[in-house]
Amino acid sequence: AQRVTQPEKLLSVFKGAPVELKCNYSYSGSPELFWYVQYSRQRLQLLLRHISRESIKGFTADLNKGETSFHLKKPFAQEEDSAMYYCGGMDTGRRALTFGSGTRLQVQP
């Protein structure tokens, strides 16, 4: 069963516009959630994890247990944010990190 859902395959915004990449999960208990990013011709890399409660490259993500969501947000998109974004997670006791199907973000000039 899909544990992480990213409903949007493609999100296109203009430079300077706010961005929200949606992620919903179905893990039980206290899951650990991540966002990974893949820029063109680069490796997949960690962007941020919810336990760190940090902001990386202007992106933030808050775990909302009531809505079982972990949406990725940035107030002002930049062209260099264009990439493929994957939401991932694991539930308590599970050993492997699983991912959603990914959302491609296109930031237009």
Binding site: Q6, E32, R43, I51, Y86, R95, A96, L97, T98, F99
Partner: protein, 115 residues
């Protein structure tokens, strides 16, 4: 090496042939993962190795797929009797320890095309 290394970077094979994909994790990393990345399917978990524990094979799509990890380091993913639907990028990743809390580092992937 500095990062996760995978070989070959590209492989074209005929339907029905067997293929082996290799992964060299970051030195000292005890956890190793294989994922498959394809259009429309996103990142699909295949198998996970952690130290000397039995691997988590729950993501392997069929018995044509197998993987081993020798000496707690190098891993080989084997696909037998390849099918066209096996065409994808196969990603290997490693982390210092298993989850939770450890950053997973990915390789550049092996692009498999089955013709």
């Amino acid at each position: 090496g500095a990062g996760v290394s995978q070989s070959p970077s590209n492989k074209v094979t005929e339907k029905g042939k067997d293929v082996e994909l290799r992964c060299d994790p970051i030195s000292g990393h005890t956890a190793l993962y294989w994922y498959r990345q394809s259009l429309g399917q996103g990142l699909e978990f295949l198998i996970y190795f952690q130290g000397n524990s039995a691997p988590d094979k729950s993501g392997l799509p069929s018995d044509r797929f197998s993987a081993e990890r020798t000496g707690g380091s190098v891993s080989t993913l084997t696909i037998q009797r390849t099918q066209q639907e096996d065409s994808a990028v196969y990603l290997c990743a490693s982390s210092l320890y298993g989850p939770p809390g450890n950053t997973i580092y990915f390789g550049e992937g092996s692009w498999l095309t089955v013709v």
